[in-house]
Amino acid sequence: MAIEKHHTPMIDQLESGPWPSFITGIKRMRDEHPDGRINEVVNDLLGQLEHSYETRKGYWKGGTVSVYGYGGGIIPRFSEVAKAFPKSKEFHTIRVQPPAGNHYTTGMLRQLADSWEKFGSGLVTFHGQTGNIMFIGTDTQRTQDFFDDINDYGWDLGGAGPCVRTAMSCVGAARCEMSCVNEQKAHRLLVNNFTDDVHRPALPYKFKFKVSGCGNDCQNAIERADFAVIGTWRDDMKVDQEEFKKYVAEKGRQHVMDNIITRCPTQALALNDDDSLKVNNRDCVRCMHCLNVVPKALHPGDDKGVTICIGGKRTLKIGDLMGTVVVPFKKLETEEDWESLVEMAEEIIEFWAENALEHERCGEMIERIGLVNFLEGIGIEPDANMVNEPRQSSYVRMDGWDEAAEAYFARKAEA
């Protein structure tokens, strides 16, 4: 049966130009797919989108939809213009957790595609900025059907609402020579420990884990994660001097001075007379710059671990916050190390759940109560690496000074 296609002169213009067009793709679902249900849903979706383009407004509203046994994971969407576009009246998105590091076999992708063909609109995104595979567009009943289908072969929903959200990790150890941590292990251990908190939103607000294997932070952990795990090392960086000399010979000394030596933020580098590289490792802050320029010659050291930064988030409500260093260095080698990482996350989430206001991210809570109270709450001692500089304001009570100083020296002696 032929459907009556909406007239879409505005979004049609997005079919011109060399970049692949999402409109062309969506139209194929309307025009060529054998299932009439999909044709109709997509036709009305396109109609509503054209209406948005004409009027410069969005017409979706939220609601509550979930699958049996869960409280979150679905982004419910109900059309406000369903009279004109009835077939896409309900058009929910299903957030599905991707494998750590976003690796797939085509077989798996095809199996997911087949399920989505049965129950959804046929539109999908790899991935949303929170990290989920986003299956875009189905109604309430089919949401359950689709979930049951993919859950049977191993896929689970991600988080939506005030809960632990889907985590993200970089490709790291799977393909990157800069990796200082088993990103996938960190990712899965952390987020899967909180599966209940992913599926049953009961926290003050969202909580995100992200894992990057080095300071290049390809996953944008420091800016966008409440709990950022970033790989680093603490012994000497490895230098393959023969490779380095080859690079100097190829590019010239001027280039090396301009692009490597003088770009080191802590002036930890010098070029020796024989064109080898001198590294003052005590001054290196593992910023990754020189390693990025000559990845063939320079590598992270052997004593690898992670820095943990807490409290990154975007503007609402008090302004953008970067994660703050709460653990400057943590080894992740033995099973006890890994367990203690998970315990720390539990401690932090528990403290935040008890002390945050409604709708307050962890970073905002830290800002409100002060970093010191937060550290005391989670049982972590202060460290000079947590600040850019010590306090400037003289308005502070310091009657506990002597004990604090003693405790510091006691810790030092123990370490």
């Binding site: 979004i11 999402f22 969506i26 989108l49 979706w60 690796h103 595609a113 990712h187 692009n259 609402l316």
Partner: protein, 358 residues
């Protein structure tokens, strides 16, 4: 019809990736030695074992339909042993262990209409959000803005001509899900919400809406004998935060919802510490279906960056070196009172020195 029997979900959480990982990557996990960039869009990683893996990266339309997804799978089956990987910016990557397969793979990707590139010093795919296609609060359409811009930036995606990598992001409301970027194009509301007082009492949990406002501009009020909310319009900063929990406080407006451009966001630690993006231009028309004004401005900024920056300088580092006053001259944008921060910690952004460039 029989009611479907419900079963408890199997709470598997995040799946183990090793089962889906290319065997050469699985074998050399954590044992990679170095990488090279043989040509734009292609990476060659070499492991300590001597194994190598070649990656070909391609840009897509991000919102994939089943035909496109299956086409991507066909290419993976034909050339890459059925393994793929996605980047954080929604590029797809195919990995092959044998370098001689790369040319054929590139040809297949391009013949199928996808774009090879996005590596090293390119302008890689714009990370973006949902927009009119799916979010409940968008002031614009992220997918459409991105498609229009990528049409014009396609050569910058295909080549690696920038001083360093460029990450562009778009966001369709001020919540800015899209993320920080070297260049970020975000919606900026310019008028306080229009309140439909008839609906507020029924739909909105008033105390939580009041609590949401970052400048305490919302008060409970009785309007026409019904419980509603009112906004002190002088205080309101038009952030839109009240709209998600209270849709009758309509913030989107066909005319007054504008776009703004921010530069210098960078999450990498390389050289400097990570930075947030800063406002450079606003009042840009939200002009579907192709948003030409926003794209023209982005291109202007990219051109000035490309001409002015040194190798390895990200957009924000370049601006910091030449100074913001020169940046505004170079890109021929006005500097106004709106560029001066008045939010928490604003004083940190004021110049307390006579470091001035003439």
């Amino acid at each position: 019809m029989m009611a479907k029997e419900m079963r408890e979900p199997i709470e598997t959480g995040c799946p183990d990736a090793f089962q889906y990982m290319h065997p050469v990557m699985r074998k050399n996990y954590g044992m990679w030695k170095f990488h090279e960039h043989p040509r734009p869009g292609v990476l060659r990683h070499v492991a300590y074992s001597g194994d190598e893996i070649w990656t070909v990266r391609a840009g897509t339309q991000r919102i994939l339909d089943l035909y496109t997804l299956r086409k991507l799978c066909d290419i993976g089956d034909q050339f890459a042993d059925g393994f793929v990987h996605f980047t954080i910016r929604s590029n797809i990557e195919y990995m092959v262990a044998d370098g001689s397969k790369v040319d054929g793979l590139i040809k297949a990707i391009e013949d199928a209409g996808f774009i090879v590139g996005g590596t090293k010093n390119s302008v890689t795919m714009i990370s973006h959000t949902q927009g009119w296609l799916h979010c409940d609060i968008p002031g614009t359409d992220a997918s459409g803005v991105v498609k229009s811009m990528m049409d014009e930036l396609i050569d910058e995606f295909r080549e690696c001509n920038m001083p360093n990598r460029v990450h562009i992001t778009t966001s369709c409301c001020q919540i800015n899900c899209g993320g920080q970027g070297d260049i970020a194009i975000n919606v900026q509301h310019t008028k306080p919400p229009k309140i439909n007082h008839d609906l507020v009492g029924n739909i909105c949990e008033r105390p939580s809406v009041v609590a949401r406002c970052p400048v305490a501009a919302i008060r409970p009020a009785m309007v026409n004998g019904k419980p509603s909310l009112e906004v002190d319009e002088k205080k309101c900063i038009c952030c839109g935060a009240c709209f998600p929990p209270c849709p009758p406080m309509q913030i989107n407006d066909a005319e007054h919802t504008k776009l703004a451009i921010w530069v210098g966001g960078n999450h990498s630690n390389a050289r400097g510490k990570p930075t947030f993006q800063k406002l450079v231009a606003a009042g840009i028309p939200n002009n579907p279906p192709r948003w030409p004004e926003a794209t023209a401005l982005v291109k202007r900024i990219l051109k000035a960056y490309k001409e002015g920056a040194r190798d390895w300088e990200r957009v924000g580092e370049w601006v910091e070196r030449i100074g913001w006053s020169r940046f505004f001259e170079e890109v021929e944008l006005p500097f106004t009172k709106y560029h001066i921060d008045n939010w928490r910690g604003a004083r940190k952004s004021f110049n307390a020195s006579n470091h001035i460039r003439f």
